[in-house]
Structures are given as C-alpha cells and as structure tokens.
Subunit: 608 residues, 2 copies
Amino acid sequence: MRKSIATVSLSGPLERKLTAVADAGFDGVEIFEPDLLAGFPSPEDVRARAADLGLRVDLYQPFRDFEGVGAEALARNLRRARHKFEVMERLGADLLLVCSNASPETIPDDELAAGQLYRLAELAAGHGIRIAYEALAWGRHVGDYAHAWRIVRMAGHDHLGLCLDSFHILSRGSDPAGIEEIPGEKIFFLQLADAPLLAMDTLRWSRHHRCFPGQGGFDLAGLLAHVLRAGYDGPLSLEVFNDVFRQADTARTAVDAMRSLIALEEDVAARLPGSLAAVPPPVPPTGFAFAELAAPATADLEPLLTALGFARRGVHTGKPVELWAQGEARILLNAGVPADAAALTAVGLESPDPAGAVKRARALLSPVLPRRRAPGEAPLDAVAAPDGTALFFCRTARPDHPSWTGDFAPAGGRAPTGEITHIDHVALTQPWHHFDEASLFYRSVLGLRPRESLELADPYGLLMSRAMSGAAGAVRIVINVAYVGGHASAPDAPWQHVALASRDIMATARRLRAIGGVVLPIPANYYDDLRACHDLDPGRLRDFQDLGLLYDRDEDGEFLHLYTVTAGRLFFEVVQRSGGYEGYGARNAPIRLAVQHAPADGHHIALR
Amino acid sequence: MRKSIATVSLSGPLERKLTAVADAGFDGVEIFEPDLLAGFPSPEDVRARAADLGLRVDLYQPFRDFEGVGAEALARNLRRARHKFEVMERLGADLLLVCSNASPETIPDDELAAGQLYRLAELAAGHGIRIAYEALAWGRHVGDYAHAWRIVRMAGHDHLGLCLDSFHILSRGSDPAGIEEIPGEKIFFLQLADAPLLAMDTLRWSRHHRCFPGQGGFDLAGLLAHVLRAGYDGPLSLEVFNDVFRQADTARTAVDAMRSLIALEEDVAARLPGSLAAVPPPVPPTGFAFAELAAPATADLEPLLTALGFARRGVHTGKPVELWAQGEARILLNAGVPADAAALTAVGLESPDPAGAVKRARALLSPVLPRRRAPGEAPLDAVAAPDGTALFFCRTARPDHPSWTGDFAPAGGRAPTGEITHIDHVALTQPWHHFDEASLFYRSVLGLRPRESLELADPYGLLMSRAMSGAAGAVRIVINVAYVGGHASAPDAPWQHVALASRDIMATARRLRAIGGVVLPIPANYYDDLRACHDLDPGRLRDFQDLGLLYDRDEDGEFLHLYTVTAGRLFFEVVQRSGGYEGYGARNAPIRLAVQHAPADGHHIALR
C-alpha cells in the first residue's frame, strides 16, 4: 500500500522533515498546518520540494471546529475554509482533514452538522478538493467513527468522506469491526498511530506528577484548614512522587519543599481566624525599575537600543555600566561582568519596601545576595531567582529612600525619542529541574499569581511556559522550560527576552524597519493564516506583514507584538496591549521559535 | 507546625536525603521503605544518623495489601507485619502507614477489614507502634478518607487511626469538609502533595504518548484488516504526537516510522486470506552463540571469567580475540577494537538461516553491517541494533554451514570447570530517544515478543525496562532507558550486562566468593525484607545472604540471581530459573541500581 506520514510525527523544520520522509521511502506526506505557518517556504515552494522528492501531498490538516455551529459562526468558518482551499491549491493538496468540533458551544444536532458539512463539501468541490471528516476521541458531540459516518452518510456529498484515525478509534475502545460496513470509497484517508495502554488514572497521576504545595492546582490551604479544625496536631509531611524531582539536586529540592510548607502555613493562617502567619508579609512589586544586561561588547547593542528610541542617560560612577532609558523603561548595559555574549543577568523591581521584601525572601529560604555597595552608593537589596537571575528591590527616585539612579552620572546627549513607556514583561528560560521551583518562588517570595501552564511547540520539542503576574499586571514574569529532558539533540537555545511596552507599536516598528535587519522576519504563511482566521482590515493586515508584527486577540482585547533578532542569549519584544488583553500572544510563540531556530536549520535568514 | 517529608520526594541515596532534609530545616522524615532496603546503613545506623541531624523518624511506609483478606493471607500478613515492627523498633519509628488494599482479590467487607486492622493494631501496640490507615485513591474497595474513617471507627482501637493524604483526597474530588467531623486525635498523620490539574483523558494521551505501530499496545493489524475489508485503497498514514520523537533525529525517526508500516503490512497480510507479505519471513534466533566484549585490557577480565568457571578455549587466527567458553556460553574478548573500558559490543545469535535473517533485516530497513571476513574466515552476517550493538547471525558447529568457531585455533590449557550452561539474556541500555525504536526493531527484525514495559526506581530517576524474548525463552534481550530526559545530574551509568545461566547457582556463588571482591554486595536490609515477605527456610535465607544472592518468585517458579561488580560499562549476572519462572527479578533491580550508584554516592563499597 502507499505509505504516508504526517509532518507532526517528526522533529525539525518542514524541509528537513520532507527530506527524511522521502529518504525513508514514503510515498506521500500529510502537511500539518503549523509546520507550514512557521516556515518561510511558500506553499508553492513546499509543493515543488515535495515533487522533487517524489512525495505526494496526501492531506492538509487539521481544520477544526467547523460544524454544529450557529449561522454567524458558519459564515466565518466557510470564509476561513475558502482561504485554506486557496492555500491547498498552491500546495497541490486535494484532501482536507476536518476534525469533529471540540468546542463546548457545539450544537448537538446531527442534521445541522450534516447540512453544514454538505455546504463545506460543495465549496471544496469548486476547488477540486475533498473533505475527510474525522471523529476526535474528545469531540464535543461526535466522538466515534460510527457517529461521524452517520453524519457523512446523511450529508451525502461526493466530496465528503471519512478520515479514520486508529488512535481515536482504539483509545476509546470502539469496536473497529463496524468499519467493514462503510463503503471503501467513502473512507478517504487512514491515519495510524499506536499508543501504550496507559492507565491514565489516579495511580499514574500520583506516581509521576505530584508536586510541592503551591506548585500545582490543589486547594491545599482549604484542606489543611479542615484538618486543623478537626484538631490534628501532628506534622505536615510532604509525600511527592515526581519524575523531575527524582533527578534533581537533593539539597535544593529539600529547600524547595520546605519553602512550600512555609507558604502553605501562611495561606492557611489567612483562613483560620486567630492563627498567625510565621513569615513577614509579601511586598508585591509595583513595576520594573530596570533590566540589566551583561553586555561584553556594549557597542553591539547601541544601534538596536537607539532604534528602539532609547538614549544613554547615565554612566555609573564606579563601574562600567551604562543606563539607557525611555519613559519608565530602563536598560543597564554592564560591560564589567564576565559573559560570552549579551544576557539578562538582573532585574530591578520597584518595591514599596525593599527591606521588607528581602526579609520575606529570607524567611522563604531564598538566597539573599550580598549588597553590592561601594562607599557613597545607594544600598541595593537583592535575592537570587532559581535560574540565577538577580532580583533587586528598588525605590526609583522616591523621596523616602535612596535611589539606585543616584549612582549614575548624567550622560548628557540627546533625549529619548521613541514610544516605549515601560517594561511589559521579562521572560526567563529555566534550567531543566527548576520550573516548579521557579513557579513557587515567584508566587511565594514576590506574591505574583501564576497563570495556567501552556505547552508551546518548538521544532525540537515542547516548551512549558507559565506567566506570573502581580495585581493589575504591574509586574509580569514568564518562565519557560523544555518539557521533556532538555533539547539534547537540538540547537542550544536558552533564550531570554525583555518585552517593552509601546504606546504606538506601528511607529516603533517603522523606526526599527528604517535601520534594517533588526526585526525578526515572520513567514508570509503566517499572514495567510491571519487573513483566514480573523476578519482584519486588509490595509492593517498589510501593515502587519510589512512591519513583521504579530497579532492576537481574545474576548477582552487585542495584542500586537514584534520580536528583534537575537543578540547573544537575548532578544527584545515590543508589545502593545489594547482593551483588557492580559495574555502574551502564546499562539504566535511557535512561529517565533521556528524562525529563531532557522539559522541553525540552514535557512537563509541572517540573525545578528 | 512540625514539618516532615517522605524520603521518596528527593533524589539520591538515603543518607544524602537525610542531610538535605535536615539542612532545609525539617523536623522529621518519613522513611520510604525502598530507600532503606536498597541502602547499606542498618536501621540502627539510620536512626543514629537521623538523631544526629535532629530529625525524628515520624513514619515508616508503606505497608500494603493488608486488610480484607482470607484467613491464610491474614496470617501471612500479620507475620510480615511482625517483621516490619521489629525493623521499626530498630529504626526508632512508632507509626506505620498502612494503605488500603489495592489487590483485585480484596474482599469488600468493612467489618472484616475493621476486625483485621484491629488485630494489626493489637499486635502493633505490643511494640509501642501505632497504625495510620490511609485510603489510596485507587484502593480496590476503600478509596476515600470517609470510608477509611468508617472502618477505623468500627475497629475502635487506640493504636489505629487515619493517615490523610491530600493527593488521594483531592485527586478524586472528595469534599475535604468532612474531615472536620473526625476527632483530631484519630488523625495520626497528614501527608501533603500538590499536583497539576491534569486532564488525564484521551486528549493528553493523544498529544504526548502516541507511537508508531508495533511500539504500543493497540491491535492495529486488526483495525487495518477491517479497513481493507471495507474496500479502502488510500495510503497508510502515520500521525504520531510523541514527546520523544519531537526531539529525536528526524531522518532516523522517519526510518523507524517506515519500518513500522512494513511490519504492519506483514501482520495484516497474515490475517487477510489472499494477501501476501512483501517482506521475507522472520528467522527467529534459537539461542546465543556468543557475547563479544571490547576488552582493552583483556587480563582484567580473566580472573572474573575464571572464577565463573570459564576457560580460554581458542585464539582467533587473524585478530587479537580470545574465545572463553563453558557449556554453550561463549565470551569473546576483543582487544582489537578501540574502547576506553570493557563494553559489550556484539552479540552472536544462533540462527537456522543467517542469510535469511539478514534479508529480513534489510527489508526492514535495518543497517546491515559489512562482512568482516578475511580470506579463509567463515562469513558472518550482521546487522546493527539501534544502540549500535552488532548482531551476528551464526550457525555454530553445524554441518550445513561454516562455523565462526573455525576461525579460532584451540588454545589448549584446562577445560571449563563451572556450572554455567548458556547465556540467559543480555541487557542493553539504550540511548535516550531509541527505546521505542529498539522495541520495534527486536520485535520486527528478530521476531521477538515484547513483554510489558516496567518502571524501575533508580536513586536518580526512573528507568523503563522491557524484555523481549523468543519462543520458549530461547533468546532474551532486555532493553533499558532513562525514563525522563536522561540522568542529567546523575552519575553516568549506561550499564550493560550479560546474564549467565547456572545449573547450580549456589556452587557458582561459592566459587566467586572464594576469590573475593567480585560479587556485588547486597544490603542486609534487603534480607530483612525477604524474611518478612517470604516464608523461606532460614538456612537457605542465610546462604542467600552469605553469598549475595537475590530471590524472586511468581506463581510459576523461582528465580535466584547475583551480580558481579562492574568492569568498565559491563557487569555479569548469574541466574538460575526453576519451575516456569519467565521474569528477570525486576523487584530486585532497584536494589542493584542503588548499590551500583553507591561509590559515586560516597559509600564505602569498592567496585573494581
């Protein structure tokens, strides 16, 4: 039989996947959409490359959440489909996988779904394209192949058939014998995957995924309050089976464990009248005072900072450190710390009570750093975050406290010219082993609230990402980690970044474009997808594409952002939030990661 | 509140855990039984060390599958408990965690369970010990704390109370408010763990754990037969979301993928009358011809091989290779291949048709190695296994085929003297990324049947282990891999071993003891546990302990084994199977792993 494989099954960029697939003797390939979107080769390029390699593009996938929707959503979905059919024509693909709607809003009405799939098939037929409808095991309403087949039969369109996926059939324990009743010509495609028979039950959860209090999602303070009200007076004891902790440094994990219990005691004290927390209260930071970069060759960063609108405003009186500023955004370039390449080494946090913040950090067993103070300099209290980044607690230019800015002599020269107002967030890649520890550190020591962990697809594996933020988004810190074992075989990419808030990102982007070569290029395929998924003004979309801007929105507002190329371990992001958007453009992160890997993957994009 | 932690929460050996726990400021510790069993310090040593560190031994755990059993099992379980109470007295622990019975045979009768727990508590009281009964979330009959409390209340014994574990309560969504109804003095212990709110459903299974056909547990040939009977004539396409493949070498994974489809086509052809497999049939090996060791300093291994009863029987006529033999067990020592230290580099497999075996390997895309043949030497067909080990297909001393042994000149000297009859199995540690590939390779290329994958606890993480065997155990190969990401922070230990079958392991063990220093020492704590768990003849048990023998049994028979110390990457195991025992002593592997790590962990055991 002919043999095919979905590009998602392999690592690396799309071109490498195609070569490997052809070399292994496959006849065809399923193009997994994210692989196309994150790459620079156009659909025509991919088509030509596949043809050169003797590979047929058997399927384009997936198209999600189409059927069982209201009239307005249907119109939007058909519009999105039309865009995708155009991409498929360019790609030379004539079969589209549509998986059953998994959205909670799906209307459970087979006739409605059949009618809507008929319309989709009719539209597809005009492009010479066929639709393979697949029941996802977790489909909201349609979860097994027999149900999908009933709907396809009801629709009765030549261009509509089934895609069968062994995982979705066998993972649910569906009886595959019923497949024999389906006419073979209506089975448009067969996807195969095996899987270990995992007991995905509490036992497995318990044996591998436990973590220390405050690192997961349980309401442990609530539970503990009940136990204490019952009169229990024994110890609090941690019993944690965790695949990562099993490999981590013993002493460090023990400290992390103790920190979790101290924070838990504090949480429960807040719920039990009459009991008292044993630790000083948190002193939530109110903003970023600065980001400090180790910059062995300071001059390398100057054109970029200048293009961003920063100006050199001060020079440290005792060290080779420059202060670059714009609005409330301040970047310190430190040429005096040993480093191979530019890297983010310290973050200044605005604090209403620096000494109190350090007291709390110490009570929570965090390493307090010795004060770096020369005679006449302002005292700076600092702790080390789990990845080694120094966190300084600052009061910038307040009458009640010496300001660190007093250690800098004015540098003269021009004033800042740009639209940057402040640091929106910093993103720190954590060493393997330290992700849970970092979550707990930022939550307990700084009092930030963790958001949900997200999985981001990198060409060489999955990343976990978790944002932590203070009230009203005053301080946002994003921590990232490779999901499994580090990227053993992948190009080394422990990237950090500083995200700057712009009040007019279009203006900032134009300023950057003017100097050339500093904005991370974004594949045209991304903008094709943006066009399909959002009803954006064409002129605005064209501007986004011209300027390398990425776009996201949620129910609360919009998010525009762009990335600079990488210098050393570091790059900058420029962001503009509107409405109540509180996210980080996570859906765009895989695009960014793929492009950042591009030079190592042999692409033509020149990063500095 | 007092703070405690279970030793299972941390990595490394027990002594390092105790130090780390004390340094982090904990007041006490739960001793997780496997940590005690796998370590040399006696219970008294652990007690003294904990006391020195200011740590109380708050709990000993776990004691499993006690209650809700028949009279005979109860007697056995009480006997086992008595042994454990003695260990606890030596350890200075006065609280034992008993978790609810998870065995499928548990009798669902609360009064029976209460009565039996009463008897356990009564026995414990005589030792000044209390019993903390815990509902496991996956307990067969008792799965939540309210149920456990009903039983404890019914039993009504002062020395019987509850252990509450936040994981077991919150993972099941039990309402913790009911805890307040329990008298505090009956809550003997509280264990805390958090956990991410994992959607342990098909979606997560699908997104992370798919694998190629033949690497998991699905009956894909059965499914495919149904699809083909339906008349489907499209391609077979693989869609595999897998955390490991995402990081693996692209080209290699593509070949692995193709191999899986070729093997699947063959499987389905066997089920569909009239269809034909496209690949030559498997040629299952019928035994081990030899194990070849790279031995840069051949002399280092001679005393060990001699003590095992081997004799030098031949010298290769063209290469610096010696043949050591005993019964059907043959070891080649090759001083001519570059290697830092002794390592297993090749395995000879007895094959009824070497050329056919190579044809099959080639059809399944396995790298066929160039024949290493000098003029006058016997031809040797070989393929490379996924970890690089060369597999030679041999016909040893058969009239129909040249024998590789013909290339060796007799070495004269003494004849073998020992009890070793043949090679029982070889165990190969796979590079991270190659575990699934190796499973499929041995299954499809050699026609071996995979057994279930097991998780083995190593002090620095979990190992996955899977045995593959031919009909009647003719050939057994065990593959191991680090479960998560490799042991980044752990001592490097890619151990391989050759297991030799002895017809009288006691005699072999005595022979080894006579030369001294070559048998891996086994902690006395292991024998204390053996005494508690099995009703073994005391004299026999004493012999086991004297000789460093480990013991396992199942419903089919018994297994005795011992390990030698490690030379280079390699060690030997000696095994004796009786009855129909087909396992590998997996329950003893964590003991072995802990002892093998001992030198790096600063223990006193001298390995060569």
